[in-house]
């Protein structure tokens, strides 16, 4: 792929060459048609660069700097006009008009409806002009590449201007529109509102699905090169972040749509969690399981973790409740795996022994902040809390035992009792909330 810098360098060099040729009164149009290919390309690049800068090319006199008289042929045409490709003339005239329109030099309403159609048709033809000029060697590939990219920018700039027929009127017609380019920020702002309306049952599922499709379509348009290209590096970073945010919002709303009709207790995901914990329980209690059973247990517990995430995304449980379930599956997994598999023939199986009080302390320290947040929000999903409460109470019981606490170092003991007391308080508050719900 030719680097843009190379193309710009060629154009600037060509511009210098053309200026020099003009100063020495050399016929630049002839120079663009004769001689080696590299020379023709360089001079043509310079001529086009002059056109892009809005500089007109002076009527240069005839060849070799000997005679300053302009030669006019029998047909009345000056020699400089002879044989210039039609595509090049067309391209130059379209370029200058499109530059003025797209840059806003002609104002917000630079044409009427007919005029807009005409300039867009000319820009379409300009694409073919570039292809022709490149294929016949009039311009080099680097310059053609630059011209094509700039053409795309012109098309966008022209499309964004409105025809005079849409000039805003004082009364009855609405205040007219922002430019056609929808901002990514606006798209992401639509979604929280949509979600809010969905939560309040103001809009139906079919409508929300349709709106999400429209939003995805608009986002995909803004991913196109000729839009991204116009952004600064900071804006590009912001656009990337907003795209990710939009995708996550869409996923969340879609998950809500799927679960909308189902209550938590009837949802497939809560059943997955229940089945996984029920399946693993006997193995966790006994500490005995074969390799194949462990594989099956771990797979089910993984699915339970994923199901907790889905329920949280759907808004049926909070993030904290989902994490609580995941601490519970981790606890059960550890209890299943605490002994070597029963079909393991290896005699020496070293395990670092961790006292129950230490394990309880670890679990409580992870779960306490989650439960505190749940209490603070005042929203409890009883189906989830009932799953994790027995093991939490067991940990409280362990840390209430003097015998178990003595296994901890002195400084850890006070930390453990403090955690235990905090957890007791939080559990009591959660039970109150659950009782009030009944």
């Amino acid at each position: 792929m030719i680097h843009r810098t190379t193309g710009i360098f060629i154009a600037v060099l060509g511009l210098l060459v053309v200026v020099i040729l003009i100063l020495i009164r050399f016929d630049i149009h002839l120079a663009a048609k004769r001689g080696p290919r590299w020379k023709r390309n360089l001079v043509t690049a310079g001529i086009l660069a002059m056109s892009l800068l809005g500089l007109t090319i002076p009527n240069v006199s005839c060849t070799n700097g000997k005679d300053s008289t302009t030669v006019t042929g029998r047909d009345g045409k000056k020699t400089g006009d002879e044989g210039r490709p039609e595509e090049q003339s067309h391209l130059e005239s379209v370029w200058s008009e499109a530059t003025e329109i797209a840059s806003g030099k002609r104002g917000a309403y630079p044409f009427d409806k007919k005029g807009k159609k005409k300039i867009l048709a000319e820009l379409e033809k300009a694409k073919t002009d570039i292809d022709t000029l490149e294929s016949n060697g009039t311009i080099c590939g680097a310059l053609a590449s630059i011209l094509r990219k700039d053409l795309a920018v012109f098309v966008v700039g022209v499309n964004e201007k409105q025809p005079t027929e849409l000039r805003p009127l004082m009364c009855y017609s609405p205040k007219m529109f922002l430019p056609a380019k929808a901002s990514m920020k606006r798209l992401t702002e639509r979604m929280p509102l949509l979600e809010k309306l969905l939560a309040r049952e103001k809009v139906n599922k079919a409508l929300v699905s349709k709106v999400l499709e429209n939003i995805e379509k608009e986002i995909s348009i803004l991913e196109q090169e000729h839009y991204i290209r116009m952004l600064t590096p900071d804006e590009k970073t912001e656009a990337e972040e907003l795209k990710k945010k939009a995708a996550s919002q869409i996923e969340k709303i879609r998950a809500k749509l799927e679960s909308k009709e189902v209550s938590l207790k009837d949802s497939g995901d809560i059943k997955t969690i229940e089945e996984a914990l029920n399946f693993a329980k006997p193995f966790a209690d006994s500490g005995k399981s074969t390799t194949a059973q462990r594989k099956s247990i771990c797979k089910k517990l993984d699915e339970a973790d994923k199901a907790a995430g889905q329920l949280s995304k759907a808004g049926l449980i909070s993030i904290e409740e989902a994490e609580l379930i995941q601490t519970e599956t981790a606890r059960v997994r550890n209890r299943v795996l605490r002994n070597p598999p029963t079909d393991n023939r290896i005699m020496c199986y070293d395990m670092m022994f961790v006292y129950p009080s230490q394990k309880s302390m670890n679990r409580i320290s992870k779960r306490l902040p989650l439960l505190k947040r749940i209490v603070k929000d005042g929203k409890v999903a009883p189906e989830v809390i009932k799953k994790v409460l027995p093991s939490i109470e067991k940990d409280i019981e362990t840390l209430s035992s003097e015998k178990e606490l003595k296994h901890l170092q002195a400084d850890k003991q006070s930390e453990a009792t403090s955690l235990r007391d905090d957890m007791k308080k939080v559990v009591s508050e959660i039970k109150n909330i659950m009782n009030k719900k009944k």
Partner: protein, 352 residues
């Protein structure tokens, strides 16, 4: 100016409104259609050929570059596509005001890019309120789906919120719904009595205080979400501190100005605007400029209520909506019924 050789008028008038039909599948409580006024009004419509011939004459005489199609419900007219095609061929920009219930992917596809702007009502985020104000069960579901379909097709959409006592409390969430659906602009139009609405004045008319609160919200909303919001029905400055709303656009009566929206009914009768019942003449028999320059139009334009005398915005505001005054009280020189209802609160603006 009239060319003495050709005897044609070279002046242009940019925008016209054309009521394509008087038929409607809604029964809006706030409907301003003049054929629903207490006083009789001619009803009926011409055939396709006669309609296109009439439009052709209108365009030739006015040089209009923008036509808004309205009704009734325009899509009830079977030849609506022919009318739109005709206007598009004439390079006229076409706006379509519709209740959206008859719009679907097929009709939207048929219109293609020939419609520049679609204007649809979104009267409340609460389906029951929207349906009740529209007089049609299921209207809310249909119009919201129509908006979504139009968005899919890449159309430009403006929703119209007709502010009444029934729906004003739901304005903030309705604006949010409009934004969430992706509309391009919102019209916040206070209820303007006329037609059917005249009979429901007490049920529908909100107070200036209620409307001001909604405007406060609209101003902030417009800024926060970059949503253009315009109040196209006159909000009299004697009742509203319109200058404090930096983000809203306010419209005043444009009758008689170059921005007037003369209205043609399905039979070719020309009126000063779509709220007024004054017939200036028929385009099929009389030249546009003869009617626009005629005595009836002059009287309509010049009319201004006594109440407004001395107000520094007298010539801009012209007493609110003359058409509403004409329908509800009797003459365009009477006070806008909205101002009249809250006369004790109205404060004409003094010259500083």
């Amino acid at each position: 100016m009239t060319d003495p050789e050709t005897m044609t008028d070279s002046r242009n008038h940019g925008t016209m409104i054309f009521e394509v039909t008087q038929k409607c599948n809604h029964d809006c409580l706030h409907c301003y259609n003049v054929w629903k006024n207490p006083a009789p009004y001619p009803t009926g419509e011409l055939g396709t050929d006669e309609t296109l011939a009439m439009l052709s004459k209108l365009l030739d005489e006015t040089g209009a570059t923008s036509v808004t199609l309205t009704g009734g419900e325009p899509l009830l007219r079977k030849d609506i596509f022919d009318i739109v095609d005709f206007l598009d061929e004439k390079n006229v920009s076409v706006n379509l005001i519709t209740n959206g219930t008859l719009l679907n992917e097929k009709t939207i596809g048929r219109f293609g890019s020939k419609i520049d702007v679609y204007e649809l009502p979104l009267l409340s985020v609460e389906a029951e309120i929207h349906d009740r104000m529209s007089g049609s069960a299921g209207a809310f579901d249909k119009v919201t789906m129509a908006i979504a379909d139009l968005k899919t097709a890449g159309a430009k959409i403006v929703t119209v919120f007709v502010a009444t006592k029934l729906n004003l409390d739901t304005w903030p969430e309705t604006a949010e719904l409009a934004f969430a659906l992706g509309v391009d602009a919102i019209m916040f139009n206070r209820f303007n009595p006329g037609g059917e609405g005249f009979k429901n004045f007490d049920m529908l008319q909100a107070t200036p205080e209620q409307l001001s609160r909604a405007l406060d919200h609209a101003d902030g909303f417009s800024k926060e979400y970059e949503m253009p919001i315009s109040c196209s029905i006159a909000m009299p400055p004697c009742l509203f501190e319109t200058s404090k709303y930096e983000n809203l656009t306010f419209g005043f009566c444009a009758a008689g100005t170059e921005r007037a929206y003369y209205t043609l009914d399905p039979l070719g009768n020309l009126r000063p605007c779509n709220h007024s019942a004054t017939i200036l003449g028929n385009i099929r028999e009389t030249g546009f400029w003869e009617m626009a320059d005629g005595g009836l139009m002059k009287d309509f334009t010049a009319a201004c209520p006594e109440f407004c005398s001395g107000c520094r915005l007298e010539r801009e505001c012209l007493g609110g909506c003359k058409a509403a005054a004409e329908v509800c009280i009797g003459s365009p020189a009477d006070l806008d019924p909205f101002i009249a209802a809250f006369r004790n609160e109205a404060r004409p603006l003094k010259t500083p």
